[in-house]
Amino acid sequence: MKRVVAIALLALFAPMVQGALALFAPAGWIPDAALLLVVALGLGWPGSLLAALLLSVWVGLVSDLLSGSLIGQHALISLCAFGSARVLSMHFNLHSVPTQMALVAGLTAGSALALGALTAFFLPEAGPGLSGGLALLRHSAVNAVAAPLAIAAVGGLLARLDEDSGRRVLRLEPRRLSP
């Protein structure tokens, strides 16, 4: 439960901080906190999968509220990103820094394309989907660079809040039979 609350609060505040930092940097230069958090959950969530699914939707929902997207757009992409990270982590070793960077770069590009496709589908009058390959590359690179640190930080937080670590060991003395 502690883990769920901690991640839910992190999901709430991290995008707010990201939005404030965006005032001081050009668009695309601030790492996508929501995506990084979801990938970190996909790679290292130790608890119930159902809770992780709900958390990833919550992460996306907060992004939707703090963004110009339709409500549900980031939530859906967040869910897909979590699923992708989870499935890939079951088949590949994603513990090394380069693989984590590659995964996040790929998911950034994928989520950007998916956002563009969803926008084009639901709001066709908004014009063609995302353009600007350079912007996409730049944002993927920024996210990739931030990924190992973010994944390690979330992993560390989850380990710290491990619900089993606080339990005391029950010592069982062998029973002595009296003659």
């Binding site: 901080v17 930092l21 668009a27 339709l70 409500i71 939530a75 912007a135």
Partner: protein, 302 residues
């Protein structure tokens, strides 16, 4: 067996969540402009102080660096006058700030006279968390009389449109967002067209070539047609006209009048156009000067 069941359950939950997200998008598309519900409004209300808190130390450091750079400039000057110059520089900085603020206010006052619309100053506290959308969060909401559909400007020109509000915050779709479309005209020739957001901080002016006279350097202003923005708000300046004369629809690259990279203080025009009154239903009809506000019909387009 149990493992299989749990896998099926997880798959079903995933599909249900994805379905809910899709339905939410559909609902949001149809009902854009409704004020946020209590829980989503609470997130926005919470974002304002959090983002102000995060921005404050960065602002402080940035100002300190600027001041330091100014002092370095002064050091290079004549040694005999250094002391006096440093004092003058200090005084100058304060006066410059006052002048800038005074100038802004004067220009806003002029605009206000032009449009006769009450305006509310607001501070931009955060930008879009997604790199692919261009919106911002301002620290004024329903309790200050801000509602969806109200135009937002600054002393440079048109900034965007309020698209959602909570009690103490409002989300503003910036002019440079891809979903933004503004009916505009060339101030010199009165040729009309649509200004849309392009990627980056640029705009695109789409116009029908037949009767259009558009040249680089032309200033674009809102046309007032479409009932979203008042007529005459500065939108930007044409930098390049592309496409051949043989095409019906041509485009021009436009540099926005507003420097979106340095957006700080904005003004919300507290009256929205007739189209916005038709699009947006409000809980407080008087705030929008609309006696017969109807149900919203979709995302706002000028």
């Amino acid at each position: 067996m149990t493992d299989n069941r749990s896998r099926i359950a997880i798959a079903l939950v995933s599909v249900a969540l994805a379905g809910a997200a899709l339905v939410s998008m559909l609902v949001d598309r149809r009902s854009a402009g409704h004020e946020f519900s209590w829980w989503s409004g609470a997130v926005l209300d919470l974002a304002v102080p959090v983002q102000k808190m995060v921005a404050a130390p960065i602002d402080f450091v940035r100002d300190a660096v600027r001041d330091y750079m100014a002092v370095l400039d002064v050091r290079d000057q004549n040694a005999e006058l250094r002391h006096r110059l440093a004092a003058a520089e200090e005084e100058n900085l304060q006066l410059r700030e006052a002048l800038v603020a005074g100038g802004r206010l004067a220009r806003i006052a002029e605009m206000r006279d032009d449009f006769e619309v009450p305006m509310l100053p607001a501070e931009l506290v955060g930008l879009d968390v997604s790199a692919w959308f261009r919106s911002g969060l301002v620290d004024r909401g329903r309790q200050h009389g801000v509602f969806s559909g109200m135009p937002v400007i600054n002393e440079q020109g048109l900034v965007g449109l309020v698209t959602a509000t909570s009690r103490t915050a409002a989300k503003v779709m910036l002019l440079i967002d891809r979903q933004s479309a503004v009916d505009a005209m060339v101030q010199r020739s009165r040729s009309r067209g649509i200004v849309r957001g392009a990627h980056g901080d640029d705009l695109i002016f789409e116009f029908v070539v037949r009767d259009a006279d558009v040249q680089p350097g032309d200033v674009l202003v809102t046309s007032g047609i479409g009932g979203v923005y008042p007529k005459g708000l500065r939108v930007g300046e044409v930098t390049e006209v592309s496409g051949s004369d043989s095409k019906m629809l041509r485009t021009a690259a436009v540099r926005p009048a507003v420097d979106f990279g340095r957006l700080e203080q904005v003004f919300v025009m507290l009256r929205r156009g007739p189209t916005m009154d038709l699009l947006y239903a409000t809980e407080d009809g008087d705030a929008a000067d609309s006696a017969d506000a109807r149900q919203p019909a979709g995302r706002p387009r000028s």
